[in-house]
């Protein structure tokens, strides 16, 4: 709420101000006390930045301090608190200095304070939600603001006509209109401040937020227009609110005709109520030229009153109001496991079908932009230390929630006892026992904060295990594309989560595709007895499963479909056998992903101990022992070369192909088959497996997940084999890492390691 802090903070100070006066500011930059004139001049020089810096400092401290007490902030929106703080400080300064200290210059505001606020809002704006509702937002922003402005102005003028306005206020209709225009600007910052705590449903939130963002434009235009006609007066503005309410209803009715999801009556009430005024209005009013607007002071006073009123009163009451009116909230009550799962399923389905239909064609560009942003802009605009700082704050917040969590639990949330909260799957920063409910829910992406929602979702009499499972499921489920929580999780986005999820899913999908691809090709090749260049590529999967299979156990079904298990099982062929394909069992076979540099150089396998020969066409899954030797982490000598076959590239979707090709070509190979430098095996450079993730420490009993950018991961998704690769002392860049993993893989936790292997295997080349 830093954004809210700054302007609101300045208001009280300014409210007490008339003009600037120099005082002996303790701690002012050390200038030798010269003559009065000099002193004054220097103070003016340093005043602005000095005070701004001071504000920022105090505001930040205040914010942190406020968060120390969660209870307070759950009741009172931060903006209120900050206004109060500003008042207090302003009062202090006033008392000390006996005169107004500093006035918030509109120039300062517009030049220095507003741009970062706008950047912050714009940068984090949930764009999909925004554009989906753009029609509604625009309507409210444009029409709504116009309506508000006119009605406010007219109402005031009407009041004046009716004689309710003190005669000394000299204003005409135009003045009132001018005033109306500037006061009608709903302040996005203030809105955000309040709504963030309240968790209304996403639609409502984005509409109000979007409207507030866009209506500034309308406001300024109106203002300029009216300003040229200027004279105004002020009176009680509250009467105009009724008319605004009418306006909202009218607009909503019109909109509902066009919307797929109509806006409820209740939502409309909240929308009317949520129109908080803020600093923009204030800045504009200060800008009024006094000579032309004799009633300026009245306006200023009124604006201040209005701002205070809306922020404090409406801010304070909106939460109880929302609760009371049972506004449809962003998270409905905890559904059954079934519903939870199926809801996610449907979201994924819908996203997939939308892609098939080609809905939202601009997403391609949006995604490109996001990639660009992630790679460059984020690096520029948010330093690593920023991540860390956010993490630290999160830690503080997190730890300090424990007290609340415990007290919450004591109140009868017996289901979620503190031990019950130790879900092994939850990535926890400290020990798992310190999980707080809020952070559990945060992690699970439900975006809830402790304040309102959790209390409601306590179910009595429900099985404790169910609750555990719910959290497990929620935490583990892949998030479908749409689910960007607009509110609370805004500052705690895990940027990499989406990417990681994408990588995982992509790898799984690619594996499956290759499987099915291979199985269709397999049928075709079945009759050939001679070794010959084979075009299929198969993907080697799990070496560990290989080991298991050698024990004769049926391979654990890691397969995601019934049709093809992904596990490479025992291949009992020897290396000399010609056509391995015939002897492979189709179901059990893993796919060896051989990216082949060429398709015709695939001779009888003869690896001469050098890496210069392409493997034979018959990628013969080796005998178990060979396979074991194959396992990089076991043998310590994995073959690291990678080949790409043309068929593979056909399966990889076009969008990814660029990245795919990049990564492959970066391995000094060609992405397409007949390569002229046929014998050259391509090898991947040591992959950046350094687990340098700034990620939350997964509570993995095994190795840290390597972090790698998306395109290279495609290349890593396979590994090549050569005939006697076991004999080849391979490069061992990765070995130390692998070695470590090996131990854990072979631990009794076979189950876990399966999961782990899939993706760490991806790192092996």
């Amino acid at each position: 709420m830093l954004r809210a802090a700054l302007p609101l903070f300045g208001l009280p100070l300014a409210g007490a101000a008339a003009t600037e006066e120099p005082t002996q500011e303790p701690g002012s930059p050390g200038e030798p006390p010269a003559g009065l004139a000099l002193f004054r001049w220097q103070w003016h020089e340093v005043e602005a930045p000095y005070l701004v810096a001071l504000w920022i400092l105090v505001a930040s401290l205040a914010k942190i301090v406020f968060h120390l007490s969660r209870k307070v902030t759950s009741l009172v929106p931060e903006s209120c608190l900050l206004i109060l703080l500003g008042l207090v400080l302003g009062g202090i300064v006033l008392a000390v200095a006996k005169k107004a200290e500093y006035q918030l210059e509109p120039g300062t505001f517009f030049l220095f304070l507003l741009p970062p606020i706008v950047l912050d809002s714009g940068y984090f704006m949930p764009s999909r939600l925004f554009f989906d509702n753009l029609g509604a937002i625009l309507t409210y922003a444009v029409v709504g603001t116009l309506w508000n402005a006119f009605t406010t102005g007219a109402a005031l003028w009407g009041l004046q006509q009716a004689g309710l306005v003190a005669p000394r206020v000299q204003a005409s209709l135009l003045d009132f209109l001018l005033f109306g225009s500037l006061i009608s600007a709903v302040d996005p910052v203030a809105v955000l401040a309040v709504f963030e705590e309240v968790h209304v449903n996403d639609t409502l939130f984005i509409i109000v937020f979007g409207e507030s963002l866009l209506n500034d434009a309308v406001t300024v235009v109106l203002y300029k227009v009216c300003n040229s006609f200027v004279e105004m007066g002020s009176a009680n503005v509250q009467a105009a609110d009724y008319l605004k309410g009418v306006g909202v209803v009218l607009q909503t009715w019109v909109l509902n005709q066009f919307r797929l999801v109509p806006l409820d009556k209740i939502d409309q009430v909240v929308m009317s109520y949520g129109g908080l005024r803020g600093a923009v209005a204030f800045a504009l009013v200060i800008l009024l030229d006094r000579t032309k607007v004799p009633a300026k002071d009245y306006f200023v006073a009124t604006t201040i009153v209005v701002v205070f009123f809306t922020v404090i009163v409406q801010g304070l009451t909106i939460k109880p109001l929302v609760k009371w009116l049972k506004v449809k909230r962003s998270e409905h009550h905890k559904p059954t496991l079934n519903q939870e799962l199926h809801e996610h399923t449907f979201d994924h389905i819908l996203a997939a079908v939308e892609d098939v239909v080609g809905h939202h064609g601009y997403h391609y560009w949006r995604d490109r932009w996001e990639q660009f942003d992630k790679k460059y802009l984020s690096q520029l605009l948010m330093r690593r230390s920023a991540y860390r700082i956010r993490d630290q704050i999160w830690d503080v917040y997190y730890r300090l929630n424990i007290r609340d969590a415990i007290s919450f639990v004591d109140q009868g949330g017996h289901i979620l006892s503190s031990t019950g909260l130790t879900l092994p799957s939850m990535p926890s920063r400290n020990s798992v026992a310190e999980t707080s409910v809020t952070n559990l829910l945060r992690e699970s992406g439900s975006g809830a904060c402790l304040d309102l929602q959790v209390i409601d979702t306590v179910r009595s009499g429900r099985d404790r295990e169910d609750a555990v499972m719910h959290h497990l499921l929620c935490g583990g489920l892949y998030k479908p594309r749409r689910r960007y929580k607009a509110s609370c999780s805004r500052h705690f986005i895990s940027e990499d989560a989406q990417e990681r999820q994408d990588k995982e899913i992509f790898q799984q999908n690619m594996k499956r595709r290759l499987e099915s691809f291979k199985s269709t090709k397999h049928n075709i090749c079945l009759n050939k007895s001679k070794p010959r260049p084979r075009k299929t590529s198969r993907k080697k999967k799990d070496g560990l499963a290989n080991t298991e299979a050698t024990n004769g156990k049926p391979p654990r079904d890691l397969g995601f479909q019934d049709t093809a298990a992904v596990i490479l099982t025992v291949e009992s062929e020897s290396e000399e056998e010609s056509d391995s394909s015939e002897t492979e069992k189709e179901d059990d076979e893993g796919i060896i992903f051989v990216a082949r540099a060429t398709s015709e150089v695939l001779q009888e396998g003869k690896v001469s101990g050098s890496l210069e020969v392409c493997p034979s066409p018959r990628i013969i899954p080796p005998s178990p022992t060979c396979a074991e030797k194959e396992l990089p982490w076991k043998s310590g000598q994995g073959d690291l070369a990678v080949y790409v076959s043309s068929e593979t590239t056909k399966i990889v979707p076009v969008d990814m192909q660029a990245g795919w090709n990049q990564s492959i070509s970066s391995l000094e190979s060609l992405a397409s088959p007949p390569c002229t430098q046929a014998p050259t095996m391509t090898r991947l450079p040591p992959c950046p497996l350094a687990a340098e993730e700034p990620q939350p420490p997964f509570d993995l009993p095994y190795d840290p997940r390597p972090s790698f950018a998306f395109p290279p991961s495609l290349a890593k998704a396979g590994r090549s084999r050569s005939e006697s690769s076991a004999d080849i002392p391979q490069q061992q860049e990765l070995q130390p890492l692998m070695g470590h993993e090996d131990r854990t893989h072979l631990s009794p936790r076979a189950a876990n390691s399966h999961w782990c292997i899939q993706f760490n295997k991806g790192g092996r080349l």
């Binding site: 996203a351 997939a352 499972m469 499921l473 583990g476 892949y478 479909q561 993995l700």
Partner: protein, 196 residues
């Protein structure tokens, strides 16, 4: 879109498709253009590879299954009517009074029941009319990230089936499936507005 109205005649069997699926002329046209765009080699039908080319599907955990749903009964190709038929499930539900619909006509493809059926067959791979625990487990595996262990997954799958299973056969039939989702707003969750 309106300017391309004359092209509607080019859609083979356009009228019967519209009759069957209930798409508007504009939507059908849009889908036709999309079909043509996906069909890179201008074969006149789509194969799996064409659909796999859609990048976004590759990062969707259910992407493969969705693609499979376009190729029922082991087909390798899908023509335009088949393409549209699948997509018709996602048409928003018509607002008209259900009582006015002719009860003798087959249920429209985008009815709630049919939407649910579509979802059901995404789970039920072997088409035996039930989602077994095994199938549920597979879906869970698809949808859940790697930090969840196998045992946890299995217990979740057990739980999920238990919750929905009423007749105790250890599997979720279509009716049980429907029942467990009766509170969910399927009409909204499985509709794409643009396909009105």
């Amino acid at each position: 879109m309106g300017s391309r109205g004359s092209h509607a005649a080019r859609i083979p069997d356009g009228d019967s498709i519209r009759q069957e699926t209930g798409f508007s002329q504009a939507s059908l046209l849009r889908l036709y253009h999309r079909f043509r765009a996906l069909d890179r080699n201008k074969k006149g039908y789509l194969s799996r590879v064409d659909l796999q080319e859609i990048g976004a599907l590759a990062v969707n955990p259910l992407g493969e299954r969705i693609i499979d749903s376009f190729f029922p009964d082991g087909n390798l190709r899908v023509d335009f009517p088949g393409f549209v038929r699948v997509l018709a499930h996602f048409r928003p539900v018509d607002d008209e009074d259900p009582g006015m619909r002719d009860p003798k006509e087959p249920e429209p493809l985008n009815s709630r029941m049919n939407k649910l059926r579509f979802a059901f067959q995404l789970y039920d791979l072997d088409r035996d009319g039930k989602i077994s625990r095994h199938e549920m487990l597979q879906v869970l595996r698809l949808m859940v990230g790697v930090q969840v262990t196998e045992e946890q997954l299995e217990s979740i799958a057990d739980r999920t089936v238990q919750e929905a299973d009423e007749d105790g056969d250890g599997a979720v039939s279509f009716l049980e499936f429907t029942k467990s989702l009766e509170k969910m707003n399927i009409e909204q969750k499985m509709s794409i507005r643009i396909l009105k």
